[in-house]
Amino acid sequence: MRFFLLFLIVTSAALLAPTIAVAETTRSIELRAGVVDYYSNRYILTADGNVSARFSDGTVVRGDTFSMDLKLNRFLIAGNVHVDGAHIHEIGAAFASYPDLDRNYFVAEGDKPDRWTYYGLDFTDPHKGRLQPGDAFYFPDLSDQKPYIISNSATIFLKNNVEFPAGSRLLELGAYLPTPGYVVNYSSNPNFYQNAFAGAVLDIGVPFHGAADAISAGHIRYDQYRGWYTAFDQHFVYKQDYAVFSVDPLTQNQRQYNAILYHRESPALETRLFYQLSALSQGLNEPVGASTYTNFVMNSKVGRYAVGINADQYVDSLLAGAVDQFTPSGLRGNGHPFDVTLSVQSYEDEFRLFRYLGVPVKFQYRGGYGYNHDGYGIPVAGAGGTNIPADFNGSVYTTIFQTFLGFTAYTSSIKIAKQLSISAKADKLEQWYSLPHHTITTDVSETLARTPTSVKLPAFLLSYDVLNIGDFYGAQQRYAYPAYPDIITNQFGTFTGLGAFDGFATARTLSSSMVYTPTPYFALNLTVSYANVSPRPVPGFSGTAPYTFSADVRVRLSRNVLVDVTRSYYFNFANNLWSPQYGIQFSP
């Protein structure tokens, strides 16, 4: 009975107790002022003149000036400060907020100046006299710096992005240009940057609309095939999940409509769906060509194994009446290939015996099962591979199963002398197919490294790699790999040696590099490699350049500009001396 009464008392007290304000912090700030400046190289936002900052709970803080360090996630409003909200109407000299600490610091006017601390957005208790950070009210020193964006308002989604309205001016080439709106994304969540765009030489993103969990961006892009074109992508991000929808190019008739959907089901399970529709159409007219590709991936952790399912579905033509022939890229006009692979990869493990011998050897293994299907016939090797449908020795395969096993063993870097270490690794993968053949790939390499403890001294590497691949068809070997002409003459010359190729190849590569980074402002990386390949390479047809020399120089010109120049020399393979392009990158 006593317990029942006690229960009644406690329950009643709980129900009758006044609601305690939750000390949550603001999620966004709507900022208005005479002028709002954004300094991109410091991630600092300032505002001056009749500043008004409205928090997500409706509290409004007005003052003469505002500054916010976006990365540190703290802001300050100073000068004739008025704080007005549901539970507060105060006047003071300054209001500083540290959302990460869940604290707002206020220099109150009151009868006598005082320092008050509010917990989050709970403005009912000022916590007078509580110590405050020594630099809570400091202004950033922005002397001699030009703002990147000038506006008169901004919406700040804390720890995420800042949206500037239409008419905001952006500093480009020394002039401030009006924009249709601009979003500065400073989120620490990299999923805002996921995209499905094809590679381009140049991509200029113009994010023009944002929210706490979304960004819309236009892109101006250039590549050597399409020239200049525009693209668009829309990002949605929630914790580790994300969705990206894009059109690339946007302003050309051959477009790709992409979607990426990623969902983290649990800490041990993730799914990712990628869908791409390629369509050739004039505006929104009926496409004259369309195909799709869908990829679904599910990864999971099971004990000390990484288990994955990977499925691909291709529809080579969505249009009726397509001509069933091979496209230049080797796809069937009417192909609908589907494949799914279940794979299991072990975590890294170690042969303990070798540790006792002083040579730690680690290993991983993997295996899996695959299924391939195409009702129009799966592409196969051999002379019948060019038929429609493709056949192998007269048989059309619409379904092929495969099983694979792989094993990797590798040593740690073993110190053999002062600053000198050696390591070795070997990988073997064997795949068996229901179309009777199997492939064996073996890769073995050794690396010798001289790594000074001081980064100011150059490091040297020497690596020798042997890669073998064999495609075993048994008695059908020559059917699968008919002899190529032994002599090939093309614009690069006359070459021999392909006649012996019957599905087995070996590449032996000797590579050496030197890395010299005396300071963070300069780096020189030189790499020279020699590849001895069997069958011998034929320029313009197959194989790689036997000799390659690559240089990479990085020089920091200023605090904000790093120039990275890369180029390769091919020793006249395929009439190429230097690689066609310089790789030049400017980065912070």
Binding site: F232, K301, N560
Partner: protein, 336 residues
Amino acid sequence: MMKSLAAFALVLAIAASAASAQTAPAPIAAPTPGPFATPVGATTPVPIATPIAAPTSVLTAPPSAPATATSTPSFDKGAAPPGPTPPSNLVTFTGQLLDYRKNYVYFTTGDAFPTVDEPRIIDAFSGLPTTVPPQAKMFAKATFDPATKKIIELAITKRRLQTSQSLGPATAYVVVGSSPIPAPEIAGQNLTGKQVSVVFEVTVPPTTAFTDNIFISTDSSDWNPTAIKLDRVDAYKYRALRYFASGTKFAYRVTRGSWNSVERGEDNLDAPPHQFFVREVDALAARVTVYHWSDEHATSEGAGPNSIPTPYNPRPFGGGPGGIQVGPTPVPTPFR
């Protein structure tokens, strides 16, 4: 989110109608990226607990210090008349202003000092009275009258002044309404923003090709996947050195140059970014082990996909020599 969806639909419609025009847009230079080298928190280090100054009886200037009368030139109409220049041995404090209201001057230290009813407001460089009112962000040198414990002169300027390192004797003039109460949440290390060398050292999986480039991508570089290039220093390790100000905080991930080839955990699942905080030390190391790349597959041979140069796989190295298709049409690869 609805606005974003609407924007997406609108852009799609515009794109469709614009496509037939096929006009090449004028190039616009890339937006200025945020520099990675910028120390986040270099000028505003993480919070340091500063006790609220309690009034003390420390005085450095004699109460009876004589005022030195000086003649001043004419001043703007409406400005306060020139008063006597305070003697040089009075207590002063120089800092940046938060506000000046109701006979109190507030500095960015958070401290408030009372003023006499009509303090002398002068330009800090000319020494002449000024009509410009003291405002937030201005720098000011306050001179105190030890007798009244109030500011009698305020020399202001919009130019940066060398500020006082501490309140010093001015502590005695601070006005504060409440006694200080500890705030454990702000007690922390004193960070000065000094340059700290940080070595990034990344151990890559053994399947990584010898010639692969490895990069660090950070939130401070807008997640540019090629922000910091690392150099290979042995069979498995890549390295780069950068300087950061103490107090800098950033998130980073390891990539092979794009977001399609980003590091994954040992369980082959997408891992959250690594967090790094630059402490007040001389040197730090950021060490990461990469177990998988997002573009690797269990059926890829160790050296990476398409690396065997044979007619069976006639385009082993895209973009380089040998990638041009001349001669007999290659047999399609059996399985994609």
